[in-house]
């Protein structure tokens, strides 16, 4: 008889344990993502250190090529910002430069190289499509801009154009 009581008590304990396991499943959980994208307040300064110089003496078969990697005639720019910050860059790959007398235009196709220090020959090519780069420890990044231009049908005169570049922090 006493053994039967023991068995009954053990059964109750087992039932309690089972019911607690069942109730543990009776719970719903959801995870919600909270997020905020912060934009850097400190600006990026773009400084033109040197313009691109092109003259007729550089022409070969009616075409001029200024190497951004090797030529001293390449334009030279510097970006100043926050040390080691990553930034996004893109630029217009070509531009029509206009004769200052208003007589015609020429198509200039840019090429661009960049490097975190002032070392033109060590630069890496930068496509016109978006690229991600990083400032140096000195908060700087350097660009050299060259290009190709066909002057075979160009009228005499001075031609001016712009180089459009967009830079923003990531």
């Amino acid at each position: 008889m006493k053994i039967l009581k023991h068995i009954r008590c053990l059964f109750i304990l087992l039932l309690v344990h089972t019911s607690m396991m069942l109730s543990a499943q009776n719970k719903t959980s959801v995870s919600i993502k909270a997020q905020a994208t912060v934009i850097d307040r400190s600006g990026i300064e773009l400084i033109t250190l040197k313009n691109m110089d092109i003259d007729l003496s550089m022409a070969r078969d009616g075409k001029i090529y200024v190497s951004a990697l090797h030529d001293a005639q390449a334009a030279f720019m510097m970006v100043k910002g926050r040390a080691n910050a990553r930034f996004r860059i893109k630029y217009a790959p070509e531009v029509y430069i206009t004769n200052s007398t208003g007589n015609g235009t020429l198509l200039l196709k840019y090429e661009m190289y960049g490097y975190p220090s002032d070392n033109q020959g060590a630069g890496e090519p930068i496509d016109a499509t978006e690229k991600i780069l990083q400032m140096s420890n000195e908060s700087k990044y350097y660009f050299w801009i060259g290009g190709r231009i066909d002057i075979s049908n160009a009228r005499p005169g001075n031609y001016d154009g712009e180089f459009t570049i967009e830079i923003e922090y990531m």
């Binding site: 006493k2 009581k5 023991h6 008590c9 053990l10 109750i12 304990l13 039932l15 309690v16 019911s19 607690m20 069942l22 109730s23 499943q25 009776n26 719970k27 719903t28 959980s29 959801v30 995870s31 919600i32 993502k33 909270a34 997020q35 905020a36 994208t37 912060v38 934009i39 850097d40 307040r41 910050a85 922090y169 990531m170």
Partner: protein, 198 residues
Amino acid sequence: MNQTTRHSILLFTFIYLLAGNVAAQRISFGLYTADDIVLTPLNLGILNFNDKQPIILSGETVTINLTDNAVTILTIEGRADMDVTLTIDAPATLDLDVTNIIPVAIRFAYSNSGATTDITARASAIEVPAGFTSVTFPIKRRTSGLPAPPPTPGQTGYSGPTGTAYLFLYGTFGQVPVNAAAGNYTGNINIHVEYSKY
């Protein structure tokens, strides 16, 4: 010798019975609630502070209020006559990485008025005071009168009336430190809901 043995057996029996009586309350509530609570985010399941202020700069603080469109809304579907306990585990900061963290204070409100849309539910939402992480409420509150008798347990061929309560998440992000790194700061808000046990 025989006397000693009899006393020991009686004592053990008493302890087991005591344990069984205490846990009997859990049996009666735990078994019939089953797993029929459904917690569903209505929007993307994201509380995005840029929805309130698209451009967030250093030094700024962004607050999403209960009335703002940027509020994150969830529904809690379950037995209308049952109480549920909602627990929110929210981070104190949103993080870009281990070194770049920005404080965040998550608030929440619930609506158990029996509203059928989140718009009408929000109008009658009850804000849980800041600092609280848990709240217990019936899926559908009584409008008046005495409490109803205990609900009929669900069983084969019978399931009790169901209802929908609404949960709203909002809060304050910042102040963004002056030297904060730019980027996407994130954190997870974990929400648990279960039928209350008394």
